[in-house]
Amino acid sequence: MIEVSTDWYLTLAAILFSIGFLGMMIRKNALIMFMCIELMLNSVNLTFITASKHFGTIEGQISVFFVLVVAAAEVVVGLAIIVSIFKKQSSASVDLLRTSRG
């Protein structure tokens, strides 16, 4: 009988985070990069919830709640930025934006 243990969940979170990070690195579309950020945030949420169960405390879930709110706020602002980028160059590709070039 295989027991589903804490580390399974943590491994899932790690995989999810890695996929999100990989997406960040290889995709040019700002929107999809944003989705990857959401993936990573969710992997963190999963870690929190797993920890909450593992230690039997409610604080992990409270943190998830806050992360959710921050993520929502971030999505709102981020999408507005993407829209204005698109207005400027009629493409959402981040490679065309080089204003922070040294």
């Binding site: 990070f21 960040m24 690195m25 290889i26 040019k28 990069m33 981040v94 490679d95 934006l97 080089r98 204003t99 922070s100 070039r101 040294g102």
Partner: protein, 629 residues
């Protein structure tokens, strides 16, 4: 009450600042008003303080302004005793007289206000020096007078020679200051304090370890400031400065700072026979060399400069033979008659339209009778003719030297020779300027303006009578200095008939000198009797070049140092330091050029960098315990 000392000391500084502020707004008249009245106020306060001192039997007045350095505790303190009281009166009094003279002498100079700023800064520094309560404050004033002297020497800085003379004075003074500084360090190391009285009581209580070396260091300092052999060649060059400034700084006060300082440390000095011997020997050498050089100078001011050096030599002879009162006495009388002579020379220069060669003058007494008379008083005073000031002080020095006995008889005889030479060259000086019929065109010359003549008259009166403050019949100055020198061995004058014989001898030397000058330069006795002096030209050359000491110093020290520093500049500074700095800066420039290429502005690159190095970091965390175990 002692807070009035602050008024005396800081009033000149405030005046300098005030002049700086208002100089662009007002004309010369208001500026004169400000500076002379503040000098008068300072002098009046000084007189009041001296009176206070007098009623209190010259008990020292102390004023502690603030703690300068907490550990070891060094206060910014002032002391007013008989010694500093006399110097204070001298400085503030002469400052008034000379500033009045300057208003006329310097008028129409484009840097009129600058002159008075420097002048007041000098007065402030000198007062700080003489009224200091410990060695460090004295050193502070000591350096400041050096600075203001430098500023005033190179006052006409557009003249190459003036700028050079200022540098020379400053550099030669540095040598002396170095000695002083080492002396200060040794003092602190030995006694743990800078306060005069604490140091002196330590010495008197028998703490005399490394005393000689301290004394010698201080002596080097005094030699630099007071232009003694071998550090004297800056003083004749210092005559590039304005004449009234020369009168105050390079005749009356600053150059006597060395004498003042040695008298101040006399409680230490009396235990060092070596130090005293060095002082008297150097003083005698200086007196003789300078007097010898003065005989063949053609510049009206340079004669006086050499004469100043020579007279300072006399003061050092006095200190060396333990006659501290005589040294201070000669300092005071010399201040008056030398200031008089300098101001008189200034008046002559002013009227001759800045002609300084005495051979181009002659018979000026018909045109400038008052100046001539006052200069005559000065000349007689310095020659030691009774009852003028110089006689009393110089006679006291000679007699004190004689009184020591032993090999001091030799010193006495040589000093007498120097005194004789003094009378000779001063006689020549006066006669060539004011008496000799030369046929030079002097029809344009007039008597100097009132603002110049009146200070001359004041100083003339003082030069006549100031000697009476300390005669064998009335020991005024000795009483003033009694409290300051009460634990010092003072050489006293010989008694009775010896004193009278010595006085007669020195009067004789003075008269002979003057007479010889008259016979040689006016009557021209040498030509009349067809006397041929062997090696006359060579001696003349030697004299007018100060035994070639100046040239010798230039070749050895200046030239060698110059070529050495030039090489240093190229190799050390140019190749090593500059090269290193340039190399480093270009290294940073190039590397930053390369590094900035990684800042390509692409978000995804940054993400990759971030991930890459974060993973490396995590790897490090994982690997560290694994590697360590």
């Amino acid at each position: 009450m002692e807070n009035l000392l602050l008024v005396i000391i800081f009033l000149p500084l405030l005046t300098a600042l005030g002049i700086k502020i208002i100089s662009n707004l007002v004309n010369e008249l208001l500026l004169n008003f400000l500076t002379i009245n503040s000098a008068l106020l300072s002098f009046a306060t000084a007189c009041g303080m001296f009176g206070l001192l007098l009623t209190d039997k010259f008990k020292p007045i102390h004023l502690e302004l603030f703690t300068w350095i907490p550990s070891p505790e060094i206060l910014f303190e002032f002391t007013l005793d008989g010694l500093s009281g006399i110097m204070m009166l001298l400085v503030t009094g002469l400052s008034v007289v000379i500033q009045i003279f300057s208003t006329s002498y310097m008028s129409k100079d484009e840097n009129y206000s600058k002159y008075f700023i420097y002048f007041n800064v000098f007065v402030f520094s000198m007062l700080l020096l003489v009224m200091s309560g410990n060695f460090l404050v004295m050193f502070f004033g000591w350096e400041l007078v050096g600075l203001s002297s430098y500023l005033l020497i190179s006052f006409w800085s557009k003249k190459q020679s003036a700028a050079k003379a200022g540098n020379k004075a400053f550099i030669l003074n540095r040598i002396g200051d170095f000695g002083f500084l080492v002396g200060l360090m040794l003092t602190l190391n030995t006694f743990g304090t800078f306060n005069y009285e604490k140091v002196f009581s330590e010495v008197l209580n028998g703490n005399r370890e490394s005393l000689s070396i301290i004394v010698i260091c201080f002596i080097i300092g005094a030699f630099g400031k007071s232009a003694q052999f071998p550090l004297f060649s800056w003083l004749p060059d210092a005559m590039e400065g304005p004449t009234p400034a020369s009168a105050l700084i390079h005749a009356a006060t600053m150059v006597t700072a060395g004498v003042f300082m040695l008298v101040r440390i006399s409680p230490i000095l009396q235990f060092s026979e070596t130090g005293k011997l060095i002082i008297i020997t150097a003083g005698l050498l200086t007196a003789l060399i300078a007097a010898f050089s003065a005989i063949n100078q053609d510049d009206i001011k340079k004669v006086l400069a050499y004469s100043t050096i020579s007279q300072l030599g006399f003061m050092f002879i006095a200190i060396g033979s333990g006659a501290y009162v005589a040294a201070i006495f000669h300092l005071v009388t010399h201040a008056f008659f030398k200031a008089l002579l300098f101001l008189g020379a200034g008046a002559v220069i002013h009227e001759m339209h800045h002609e300084q060669n005495i051979h181009k003058m002659g018979n000026l007494k018909t045109k400038m009778p008052i100046t001539a008379a006052m200069m005559g008083i000065g000349t007689l005073a310095i020659s030691g003719i009774p009852p003028l000031a110089g006689f009393w002080s110089k006679d006291e020095i000679l007699a004190s030297t004689f009184a020591n006995g032993g090999f001091y008889y030799g010193y006495w005889a040589l000093s007498l020779l120097a005194a004789f030479m003094t009378a000779f060259y001063m006689g020549r000086h006066w006669l060539l300027i004011f008496h000799k019929e030369t046929g030079n065109d002097i029809s344009e010359v007039h008597e100097a303006p009132k603002a110049m003549v009146r200070p001359l008259i004041v100083l003339g009166i003082f030069s006549f009578f100031i000697g009476f403050i300390n005669t064998p019949f009335f020991h005024g100055l000795e009483k003033v200095l009694e409290e300051t020198l009460h634990y010092v061995d003072i050489t006293h004058l010989p008694e009775g008939i010896t004193l009278i014989i010595l006085a007669v001898v020195s009067i004789g030397a003075g008269f002979t000198g003057l007479l010889l000058a008259y016979l040689i330069y006016i009557v021209d006795i040498l030509a009349y009797f067809k006397v041929k002096i062997p090696l006359k030209e060579e001696i003349k050359e030697l004299s007018s070049n100060t035994l070639y000491l100046n040239k010798f110093g230039e070749v050895i020290f200046v030239k060698g140092m110059k070529s050495f520093s030039r090489k240093t500049a190229v190799v050390v500074d140019g190749l090593l330091i500059d090269g290193l700095v340039n190399k480093i800066s270009s290294l940073f420039y190039n590397s930053s050029q390369k590094v900035s290429r990684s800042q390509n502005g692409l978000v995804r690159s940054y993400v990759v960098y971030f991930g890459f190095f974060m993973l490396l970091l995590i790897g490090l965390f994982i690997a560290t315990p694994w590697v360590l175990n």
